[in-house]
Subunit: 480 residues, 2 copies
């Protein structure tokens, strides 16, 4: 299969001259300059060796670039905010980087139907700010919101913090504009909610991590801006109590729950230590839970939350509870939660795993990983290379993040962890990537959670849409 | 393209013998018997000439059937409840019918995570009843729920009555089991909410109307069963007031709105006349609106509804209001709404159109259609073949149903209506099929609402997954 050969050639001065001639903005910098901004991922784990970054400003420019690259078999890596954790936006070799940074216009905002059409380079937080003025919010939110871009969110099928309430991008994205590998523009920028006219072609590009084409614009169904919001943070003594608290939250808070996050003691300590943020609770606890509600009627929401907290207390599920209703306090609490990944990364070399896993197995996973690393002599003894093993995640979405913080990236720790941990997750009904994507090297682990016919069909789709294998070569499923 | 030739041969006695030998239940009836149940659609508009219906009971049997049909180039039409309105489940010629009626097991119901895995032949109402016992509901609901089957709902990408609250099947379906045209089983029966590991292959089959493979089982994220529900029916004097009432409902009812339906005076009259159901309101009105809320706390929900109705009254938007909180009354009101299509069908030959259309154009469409038919001498004068032109639909989903009830199906009325009405809808930003699918003959109108590159990509997908063109031949996009 040609798509698997990744036999693309490196970019030449002739190519650069061509791009300059057709008016594309180019950074053709020394390796050092590129390295810092475009050849290294946010957490410093992945390094590419791209020689040039292109900054198209229009869909037409993207179309010309891809038509040329396809003809000349030049690999293309599309980059948004470069905030991914799986290396999907980093060149494996010398592929040209296509940055969508300068395609950042909001093309349309329908204030009656609540639909925005935005170019891929719109920074998520800025887009959210923009639609808030019209009474809406973007229905996806994540820690990297000030850096990530909406095209990247769609291309990685980002889940994030309020998935529990607003659901998947497969439901919220109404339309896409995509430039295909051969330069043709697939205009599927539909803006209405229901459509049953033919195969839903746009779905293929949600989560394709730039391997099938370049998403240049997205049409998204917005959610109404909440009139009332509040946060409760709970301290609990064991994982089983988190699950009980969640079931009770669904019963008591019902339709107003907007997030139900948890993290463990060590995660809390790392944020306090490395981000200099005070803990939201006065005492240490084995587990922390953060519940947010969003509703339309403050008095009702407060009443529901108070009733819920009373139930929790009566059931003896919590050691400490604090409720935040002031906007600044709520923002600080979210900041604390969203700095968790960065705090880990500051404490050492963070091997981050992002699994879907039935919640009944999530704590078992933590125990199994610690045992596995201890048995290998890598954890729990003086001088061992693994400093921390932690979990945090999104209860209710069955999405858990596992961090193994070590002295270095890769090496013996990665060898002992992989593919062991992917096999463990697959055999417990999970997925090897819940919301971070496959990126640089998870494609080969896909077989632990996907059946052969599914993987074969993915390869056929890749072959159909990118026969020359120029789109993000060597990434994603093609290395499975 | 072979997929376009539809050059499949008719089924022979040898084929029947083979199916019997491998243990498939077969109805190989006289045309008359078949005609009534399997060769005619629910509203009696479409007629096929299939000679045999197969009733597999397992995925393995479906796999054997398709492998054989693919090898022998025998066309296959998959049928669930045969309640579609677009003729998608009716054979065009002599294709064999594959009924999933006997694949009706609930394979799994996870009461903690709220996910059901059900075979395609489960009748929607029965599946809903089953999961209600565990505190959940199926997040799709439609008038035909006692007849339609979940596999058909997925295959037509059914939207239905509570889309506004629970969203699209592209978001709620977590996994599918599909038998591909060549008999391979695509096991994508994932049951967790987040997955970003590779292309979301299952999405292709949602809304494919059996043209890419046979959906044999589905995994669906359920919604919690509401603790409290209420319905308000409003009588209004013009269409603009419906839109105002909707905007106010979003503000005042917020997260508890679960449906916002409208219909016009004539629709109300037809249900009263043909279904012998009393009108939910005492007086006649130009337009009726039915609002349902579903929540977790009855007192709060009642308070929100009362406040909303006060706002409506203060703004002078309604002529009459009635609130239903008794379970039987609510069921009767839903029955009234859900009998609308059938009442039209009983009053004459119903040409039904199912559009996504920005709500600001919906009433314009009705006016334009009436004028167009009047100009052609087909409506509004004594003896004209068109008896009624009506609209009803789902406000907030931008989904409108247009009915043209005539003395006969097809003929001059269809000639005058089509493609004119599809062109009108496409040029106003709509879609030619919102939730009923393309079915028998809407494929050729797809060009009015989809761009050529999108249609080309659909054709490539069809070619990739069904190179011999045996799956529901002559339907859907391949005739575009």
């Amino acid at each position: 299969m040609t798509a698997n050969t990744a036999s693309n050639r490196a970019i030449s001065q002739d190519d650069i001259d061509y791009f300059a001639r057709i008016g594309i903005n180019i950074v053709y910098a020394s390796e050092q300059q590129l390295e810092a901004k475009y050849n290294t991922d946010y957490f410093g784990k992945y390094h590419g060796s791209s020689q040039a970054v292109l900054f198209p400003t229009t869909t037409e420019e993207v179309s010309k670039i891809l038509a040329y690259c396809n003809e000349h078999k030049i690999g293309v890596v599309t980059q948004g905010g470069n905030s991914g954790t799986a290396g999907g936006a980093i060149a494996r070799q010398s592929e040209v980087i296509l940055s969508l940074r300068d395609m950042n216009k909001v093309r349309d905002l329908d204030v009656i139907s609540g639909v925005v059409v935005a170019e891929s380079g719109c920074v998520l937080a800025e887009l959210d700010e923009h639609v808030r003025e019209a009474g809406y919010i973007v229905p996806v939110d994540l820690g990297a919101k000030k850096r990530c871009m909406i095209g990247g969110n769609v291309s990685t099928n980002a889940g994030g913090l309020r998935y529990l309430r607003y659901g998947t991008l497969h439901g919220n994205v109404l339309g896409l504009e995509v430039v295909l590998a051969d330069g043709r523009v697939l205009d599927a920028l539909f803006s209405l909610k229901k459509d049953a006219s033919g195969y839903d072609v746009k779905q293929l590009f949600i989560g394709a991590e730039g391997t099938l084409g370049v998403v240049t614009a997205v049409s998204i169904a917005l959610a109404p801006k909440p009139r009332s919001s509040q946060i409760a943070v709970l301290g609990l003594s064991d994982f089983g109590k988190i699950q009980k608290a969640f079931v009770l939250a669904r019963q008591n808070l019902g339709e107003i729950i907007s997030a139900f996050e948890f993290w463990e003691r060590r995660c809390n300590e790392l944020v306090v230590q490395y981000e200099k943020n005070p803990s939201p609770l006065a005492s240490p606890h084995e587990f922390f839970v953060m519940i947010e509600t969003r509703g339309s009627f403050e008095r009702h929401d407060v009443e529901k939350m108070d009733a819920y907290l009373e139930v929790l207390a009566a059931e003896g599920l919590v050691e400490e509870t604090k409720v935040f209703r002031d906007a600044d306090e709520m923002e600080r609490t979210w900041l604390f939660r969203s700095q968790m990944a960065e705090a880990h990364a500051k404490s050492g070399c963070m091997h981050v795993y992002d699994f879907s896993l039935p919640s009944r197995y999530q704590h078992d996973l933590l125990v199994a990983v610690k045992k596995h690393l201890t048995d290998a002599g890598l954890y729990g003894v003086a001088g061992a290379p693994v400093r921390d093993v932690t979990i945090f995640g999104h209860i209710g979405d069955d999405n858990i993040h596992l961090q193994v913080v070590a002295d270095e990236y890769g090496g013996i720790v990665e060898e002992v962890m992989e593919p062991w941990v992917y096999e463990w997750v697959g055999s417990h009904g999970g997925s090897v990537a819940a919301e971070h994507g496959l990126g640089m090297h998870k494609g080969k682990f896909l077989k632990y959670s996907k059946s052969p016919v599914v993987i074969d069909t993915m390869k056929s789709i890749k072959q159909m849409l990118d026969p020359n294998g120029i789109m993000n070569p060597g990434k994603h499923v093609e290395r499975a």
